[in-house]
């Protein structure tokens, strides 16, 4: 069996959810190739464990639309039994379109591989797990990054093939991107995440969360309520429809704990909830709880730590 893993990259490097996708591919096939859109760190990528061949390009394929991606992939993936990608927004955009063009039904966001055709995926915001068996002749999967151990960045010795550039389609054109830049660790790979909710109260107050996070080198997250209220930008949202995270430590501050939020963080190793409402549902899932006013508790902790 042959797999192609279409990786997502951060600053040229294969990101953690993509390394987890390679790990899932390993459970399905002995032969794993990668498609790498940005070749800038290709020499590092070549060392990733278990990879046979890397397909890449002379230059970074920038801001590729789902339309262009699918146009390119529909022939490129022909020889593969599995097409695998992480569950980032880039992959979620083109993978279903690819499925439709090939008359295949992709399985999204898998968290477990039972055998070559059978997978677990969360439904109802992770409140149930569906075990599904694919009857498609070619299986297209997206992988939930937190559910698989990433493969090592070393130990491999992949060969490299350079492809001609992906042709852009005319119907869709990239205009601009507003990147929220931050020196803090990335949500998807952070060991500790400090998350703020509606209880934080304002954009200005969010600095309390930021100071705490910076003191301990944590990433920042947020509940939907905090994002909707404009305290912080959309890409920090943790939850059913935002990012799914599973750090060693997740500290939920001023977050009541709607099921949609819990869906994005309940696999964290240790969960701490700090909330002034002792009946907040977040305490039902937390390992440790502290009832108190975040405006005194958080500065206290930040100072004492």
């Amino acid at each position: 069996m042959k797999s192609i893993v279409i990786v997502e990259q951060d600053n040229g490097l294969v990101n953690r959810p993509s390394l987890a996708a390679i790990s899932a591919a390993k459970k399905l096939s002995s032969n794993i190739d990668l498609l790498v859109l940005d070749p800038s760190e290709i020499n590092t990528i070549k060392n990733i464990a278990f990879v046979d061949c890397i397909y890449s390009f002379k230059e970074k394929q920038k801001d590729v639309s789902a339309e262009s991606m699918v146009n390119f992939l529909k022939d490129f993936i022909e020889k593969y039994d599995y097409v695998i990608a992480p569950s980032g927004t880039f992959s979620k955009n083109f993978i279903p379109r690819l499925g439709a063009v090939l008359n295949l039904q992709p399985v999204s966001d898998i968290i477990k591989v039972h055998n070559e055709t059978t997978f677990d995926r969360p439904i109802y915001a992770g409140n149930a797990i569906a075990t599904v068996k694919s009857k498609d002749k070619k299986i297209i999967l997206t992988i939930r990054g937190t559910a698989f151990q990433p493969v090592d960045l070393k130990g491999g010795d992949a060969s490299l093939k350079i492809l001609s550039d992906i042709q852009e389609v005319n119907s869709s054109k990239f205009i601009s991107k507003e990147v929220s830049s931050s020196e803090r660790p990335d949500l998807a790979s952070a060991k500790i995440i400090i998350s703020g909710g509606r209880g934080v109260g304002s954009k200005e107050n969010f600095t309390i969360i930021e100071k705490f996070a910076d003191k301990i080198g944590a990433a920042i997250g947020a509940s939907r309520a905090a994002v909707d209220a404009g305290y912080i930008s959309n890409d920090y949202q943790v939850g059913q429809t935002g990012k799914v995270v599973a750090p060693e430590l997740y500290i939920a501050i001023g977050i009541s704990g709607a099921i949609q939020h819990l869906a994005g963080m309940k696999d964290s190793k240790v969960i701490v909830a700090i909330n002034k409402d002792e009946d907040a549902p977040i305490f039902q899932i937390a390992d440790y709880g502290l009832v108190g006013d975040l405006f005194t508790v958080i500065p206290d902790i930040t100072k004492a730590i």
Partner: protein
């Protein structure tokens, strides 16, 4: 412009679902059902575009049992013009749904299809992308802003790392993200008015579309429980001490 808005009837987002004891699915008996929240945002956006005279007609479509009428009526009460129901008792996958939607996009000469980015029951996040793929139309998923610019649409999308703006031709497919708008509550006069708006009801079989499932659902189970109850701490010192010395994290 003519818009087609897909709406799905799902278990209300506030309901804590229960997995059936025989592991065949989720208990749907006496459970509150609502329109998928992302689809509500899609209806709202279409109605707003109609209020701006960008869209002339808003057609809303749902695929499911007899009860999907309630969902279509809610969309009509929000301001959609007419409804289509494709009746079936089968539970269909995104590929089948998008084939059915593609059929109606062609039949109704649709210029813009707006769907929720994801249904909160099966959490696939696929149908809009698949519909665009089948029709060969451009797509703008996870939209948080839509602006008409001459014959094109400028769509801002919520992506990893921030926001991205793309320009797409029409006809096209858009899927909605949470911050596109805040759906209105239907007023009582509008709810009354919706009762007389037309709804076409068709049987799925009459369309001769291949909807055979590609995925066999073997079972539905409860997720693993987190171990143990919460330990309540009294002071921030106690919390720091626990995280440092007991958990060894900080």
């Amino acid at each position: 412009m003519k818009a087609l808005i897909g709406v799905k009837r799902v278990i209300d987002y506030n309901v804590k679902i229960r997995v059936k004891k025989d592991n065949t699915g989720v208990d749907m008996e006496n459970v509150k059902m609502s329109m998928n929240p992302f689809d509500e945002i899609a209806v709202e956006e279409a109605v707003r575009l109609k209020e701006k005279d960008i869209i002339k007609e808003v057609i809303t479509i749902s695929i499911g049992t007899e009860e999907t009428q309630e969902t279509i009526r809610s969309a009509l009460a929000m301001g959609a013009d007419r409804g289509i129901i494709v009746k079936t008792n089968k539970s269909l996958e995104p590929l089948a749904i998008s084939k059915i939607l593609a059929h109606f996009c062609n039949k109704e000469n649709i210029d813009i299809a707006i769907l929720g980015k994801q249904a909160i029951d099966d959490d696939f996040n696929q149908t809009g992308q698949m519909l665009a793929g089948i029709l060969g139309w451009p797509q703008a998923t996870f939209a948080s802003k839509i602006v008409k610019e001459q014959d094109n649409l400028l769509v801002t999308r919520e992506v990893d790392g921030g926001l991205e703006t793309i320009k797409i031709n029409l006809p096209s497919v858009i899927t909605t993200d949470l911050r596109l708008n805040e759906p209105r509550y239907a007023s009582l006069p509008n709810i009354m008015k919706a009762k007389s708006k037309p709804i076409d009801i068709l049987e799925l079989e009459s369309l001769s579309i291949d909807v055979d499932p590609r995925l066999e659902q073997l079972k539905v189970t409860n997720p693993p429980e987190r171990g143990g109850a919460v330990k309540m701490l009294n002071t921030s010192e106690e919390l720091i001490d626990t995280l440092k010395n007991k958990e060894g994290i900080l």
